[in-house]
């Protein structure tokens, strides 16, 4: 993919990634967020955080399966949009849901397992977003890669957050868990394959 094409793809990502926010603003202005608007915004921003996170995580498996490398350039943009929606999600929780009453927020986080895992996942995204600029990527070298492997933990916590939040019908969280398992599974498969190759190398040489 040439530079021109990359620009187009990135523009498309900007457009698509901002659509959920535009929709929320549109519905909010028209007072069409339903009976429980705060819950609606919370669910929506949470869902999009997860969707964009899984999209980000699918770039590497696509490379591994197709052998193409261009999608890797999109990871950072997608990752930052995931962080953007995670911030909107937390802002909704802290502001619209709990009106900045920190005592209640602290209690809610400590007492409820689904909130603990969700909040932990959010905290873990902060160092990743903070080190996503080109300067630090170069500066941190191999440590950057190690640090950014936290994203796997974030994804697992994120799906767990959704799973534990659901009262009884876990159909939807199962979909997310399945996609995550698939994305991690592809990585694991290729890792084992390459490790196998490495083992074989001395013999064949």
């Amino acid at each position: 993919m040439n530079k021109q094409q990359t620009v187009y793809v990135k523009a498309a990502i900007w457009l698509f990634a901002l659509m959920p926010l535009a929709r929320l603003i549109w519905l909010g202005v028209n007072e069409d967020l339903g009976a429980n608007p705060v819950e609606f915004v919370e669910r929506s921003t949470g869902t999009w955080t997860l969707v964009i996170l899984l999209t980000t995580l699918s770039m590497t498996p696509i490379r591994l399966l197709t052998g193409q490398v261009w999608q890797i350039q999109l990871r950072r943009l997608l990752g930052l949009f995931m962080f953007f929606y995670a911030c909107l999600h937390i802002a909704t929780y802290v502001w619209l849901d709990y009106s900045f009453v920190w005592v209640d927020i602290t209690k809610d986080i400590i007492k409820h397992p689904y909130v603990i895992v969700g909040f932990s996942a959010f905290l873990l995204t902060i160092p990743l977003a903070a080190t996503s600029n080109s300067y630090l990527i170069k500066r941190l070298k191999s440590n950057w890669k190690k640090l950014h492997q936290i994203v796997y933990l974030i994804a697992i916590l994120g799906v767990l957050h959704f799973w534990w939040l659901v009262k009884k019908d876990v159909t939807e969280p199962i979909y997310y868990a399945a996609v995550l398992a698939l994305l991690l599974g592809v990585r694991l498969y290729f890792k084992q394959k390459s490790a196998h190759k490495m083992q074989l190398k001395p013999q064949s040489a």
Binding site: G28, L33, G34, A35, N36, P37, V38, E39, V41, L96, D97, Y98, S99, V101, D104, K107, D108, K111, H112, P113, Y114, W164, L165, K167, K168, D169
Partner: protein, 357 residues
Amino acid sequence: MIIINKSTINPTNILASDITPREVFENRRDFIKSAGLGLIAGSAGMFSAKSHAANIVNGETKGAGLLIGRANAPVAEKTAVKSSSIYVPRQKITGYSKTAYGADEKLTKYENVTTYNNYYEFGTDKADPAIESTRFKPRPWAISIEGEVKKAKTISIEELMKLAPLEERIYRMRCVEGWSMVIPWIGLPLASLVKWAEPTGNAKYIEFTSANDTSTMPGAREAVLDWPYVEGLRMDEATNPLTLLAVGLYGEVLPNQNGAPVRLVTPWKYGFKGAKAIVKIRFVDKMPLTTWAKSGPTEYGFYANVNPNVDHPRWTQSSEKRIGAGLFAGRIKTQMFNGYSEQVGQMYASLDLKKHF
């Protein structure tokens, strides 16, 4: 009872201002009005002797006379249109009396009360019940009275509605999920049915069983919960003056998505205690194993009294969101027994509410 003494407040003043006009609600959706109304008028005359008998009149054609029964969409239309657009006409209830209960509360909009529901027999999404319940037939209806009673018998919905004068009571409703509403129910005290049922001395609890008709309740085909839905009350809870058998809301026949034709309302307990579309009432000597308690024994207890001091593993119980308050309204403090301590507190004086949540 303190609540009754609030006679200085005239409930009629509060009511008129807060009700969403029908036109506003109906114009929002593209309803297809069905012409073939499945009216069952025959049984109306049978129990009309009592002077306080309440009437259901058709909300569409005023002056059409006494009609008992719900309209159903014609068969041809059922296959032609999405279930969400089948129009279930709203019917007024007349002949009920207003009470001082909750007269100072701001009502939750009709639209919210009837489109934001937990009723898993019609699906697990809050929007599902309103959309998926249009095929449900709440008339004709009979409730089977069984167990520790002098004689097992059944009671039709029409008979039930004549056991006592119908009253409108405005109650707060607190869901275990941390949200609440204020709903103008129409119904009669459960105590009047208990008296009619003539329980024996062995009756210590009542078990309520909800409808489980998989042909009209799509959610009941999924094994999300152990169907049929079962709820229960201790005898003193059942006969507490607050406990209501609701047959209507907002001056109208109870919509399907709210538990038509008859549901339980216990305003000091979390909403899931309110068994909907009751088909069986069984008097028993042991505490019934209720559906949610069975599904999550550490999360849902038999008593399920609203209690800001006992937290749920998932939801904060010390505060709640009032439905309809808007995006920036914040939370309100949850009250012990949902603010009904004066009426029900004495029943739990010797009970460890942390243990018996």
